[in-house]
């Protein structure tokens, strides 16, 4: 009854085969998770080798949403490329945009006025909270608590509405430009941020009552999907995934961009690198983001929000590199220009790509349900992996 088809086997790595019989006479089998599967968060395909419910090996298959963004970038102008990064990690679209803008700024020597930098920091932090809220919701849902999904979205919706007021879009923002942003914040921005912070503090306590302290969650996440520190570094993991394993890597803190060096905030670090730590790190990060938001809105400068617009963005020849901390980790833009209006080669390093590559090590030996938990705490965005 259960046999892997030959086409599948041909696309698997060498040495990946079934053991016909185990020591106790049992048989292993393959399970195809995805590309259409509710817990793969998009169109990721995992070929799982199972022994009963126990996961023996996981092989991720990518490319089900590979949209050739890097190739397209070679034929679009630098400013047009910004809007394509919206569609990579769509939950960190502001931050992605910021990364491209920073690379262009570095290349052309454009500075950003105070207010512009503050807008950037505040919007980035709001985006981070927004992304983590959505993650919290879908984490709950992946573990079977459907209501949390709705609660997470309910809080997120407030931030999304603010973004809509800010730039007219809810998801694909295209707001930042080299030298600032495409428009100033509306007058209602600061009061709205304050309101959101208030609501969020209440909501986070509710979230703690619902999931953080829930014994079922603790049972299901403690000691599950452990990623040791050395392996996390070796795999190039970043963001909450790496920090949960104790890797002290946060671009905001260690090579601060924009004006992050002016704010006080902590980088939460986990000890065990298991699912619970990843969960906890993200919850804590939301609180830290609130801290940054409070500090930033207290000292919001009145200066112009952007610097003088260049007549065109003809980037001098050379290669440029900028990195930011998105909600998922280290996002880098590497662009090569040949003194033209369009990049010669543009490459985006996506945090999810490296984070996902560690999945086999994390999930081997666990149950299928653990695999779902691990996928959920990795918080992957498949279009960001595939680009």
């Amino acid at each position: 009854m259960i046999k892997a088809d030959s086409k599948l086997l041909s696309t698997l790595p060498p040495g990946f085969a079934l053991h016909d019989t185990g020591e106790d006479g049992s048989q292993e089998y393959f399970l195809n998770m995805g590309p259409q599967h509710p817990s793969t968060h998009g169109v990721l395909k995992l070929v799982v080798k199972l022994d009963g419910e126990k996961v023996v090996e996981v092989v991720p298959h990518l490319g089900f949403i590979h949209r050739a963004i890097e190739k397209m970038g070679e034929n679009e102008s630098f400013v047009q490329y910004i809007h394509l990064t919206d569609r990579m990690d769509y939950l960190s679209s502001h931050i992605n945009n910021l990364c491209v803008c920073m690379a262009i700024e570095k290349a052309m020597g454009i500075g950003v006025p105070e207010r512009g930098e503050y807008i950037r920091v505040m919007v980035s932090e709001l985006q981070r909270i927004q992304s983590h809220l959505l993650w919290w919701g879908s984490f709950g849902m992946d573990l079977g608590a459907v209501s949390t999904f709705l609660y997470g979205f309910k809080e997120r919706e407030k931030i999304t509405a603010l973004f809509e007021e800010l730039c007219g879009a809810r998801l694909t923002m295209n707001f930042f430009r080299p030298g600032g942003s495409n428009s100033d914040v509306p007058e209602t921005f600061l009061p709205r941020v304050k309101e959101i912070i208030q609501d969020l503090k209440f909501a986070l306590d509710e979230f703690d009552a619902l999931l953080t302290k829930n014994p079922i969650i603790i049972e299901r996440t403690r000691g599950v999907g452990i990623l040791p520190k050395e392996r996390a570094i070796s795999y190039g993991c970043s963001g909450p995934v790496a920090r949960a394993s104790g890797v002290d890597l946060d671009v905001r803190k260690h090579s601060p961009y924009s004006v992050y060096d002016r704010f006080e905030f902590d980088v939460p670090l986990g000890k065990n690198g298991d699912c619970y730590d990843r969960y906890w790190v993200r919850m804590e990060e939301m609180r830290q983001s609130i801290r940054i938001l409070e500090q930033a809105s207290a000292h919001f400068p009145p200066d112009p929000y952007r610097s003088k617009e260049k007549p065109n963005y003809k980037v001098p020849a050379g290669s440029y590199f900028a990195s930011v901390e998105t909600a998922r980790g280290l996002f880098c833009t590497y662009m090569v220009s040949e003194n033209a209006m369009k990049p010669y080669r543009i490459k985006s390093r996506s945090p999810n790509f490296s984070n996902l590559s560690a999945i086999n090590e994390m999930s081997a030996g666990g149950k299928i349900a653990d695999l779902v938990t691990i996928l959920s705490t990795l918080d992957i965005i498949v279009p960001d992996i595939d680009r």
Partner: protein
Amino acid sequence: MIPEPPKSPIPVLPNTMMNPVDWVVGWARANSLWPLVFGTSCCAIEMMATASSDNDWARFGLEVARASPRQADLIILAGTIVEKMGSRLITLYEQMPGPKYVIAMGACTISGGPFYYDSYSVIKGADRLIPVDVYVPGCPPRPEALLYGVMKLQELIRKGAWRNSLTHKPIYREPISDLMTKCAADWEEKEKKKQEEMKEAQERFKVENPDYKGYVIKRVVGPKFEEVAPTPRPERGLPQVELFNILLEKFPALGVYSVPEVTREKIAELGNQYVLDVVVSREDYLPLIRFLQSDERLRMNYLIELTAVDWKDHFDVIVHLLSIDKGHKIFVRCSLPHDEHPEIESLSDLYAGANWHERETYDFFGIQFKGHPDLRRMFLEDDFPGHPLRKDFVDPSRVVVRPY
């Protein structure tokens, strides 16, 4: 105030008489659309926002989202469909029991949207694979827009499109073409005729109004901004010169990219913001990386990315490394000849993460990595012709070249 929506005619089948049973069945089908859990990218988030408390598609009876296509009535195509996903989408559609409906949500699924030009993998409209009933434009559409699309579909079902157990719509079969050029060419033809007809009138007008200046539309002047000097941000870790000195001790033949005849002074001049970009020969590539990783002063234990650039006459393989504890970065670059299968040593023994980065580079550029445990294509199907990020890649069957 929201402007009135445009009226679009409902494609009702001809000669259909409604009897009460049909009416009831139509009503039931229209009000019980169970969507398949299917989202590929950004639109999926907006689809979930439609399901969320704020918009609550449960009001329409849509909240029974099924993970199994066997129980679903409706696919909301939320997000781009690429070639690799295409066959899976068709399978999903075929697994659904009839009557089944499809809503194409967002620009990508309607026409390829932002990925229409230059993309070698995106399907230019999901209706080339499966019949689509309702198109909801936007990128992504607001939840309200999706709900409006659902209401449109309900109207369609109620008015008789449900009669056919599958769907009344054919699959869109027009070949992909450059829409802008086509549009302009069509217009030019029309314009030629029109100009010929108008020639006399234009000449008459010239004679009658010799001093006609035309209508001038004022330019809108936006706010003016001052130029701002960039603030320098020092990089963490070892200064570039020191880094370079350490490397020169062991690898004297080391060059630096875009700095001909490199000297220590030249590196020092480049300042703090500059990240050292060393050029290494193929023989020294692996030893250099190993040295960078293992040397106590450097400890570059984190591989940020590994990629390549096609310079038409050669490839550059570029490795970005970072030291987590110390914070300094370095770019290592190694030239390879521009032939069918250029080869370089694999870093997958040193960095576990290099495995996937190298597979990606192999997929995009066709660069072979010697000693890689599992060098398969990463994103594209195994039978995809060529390596798309090479500058000489052409594939007219997939790619529409941008006209401007």
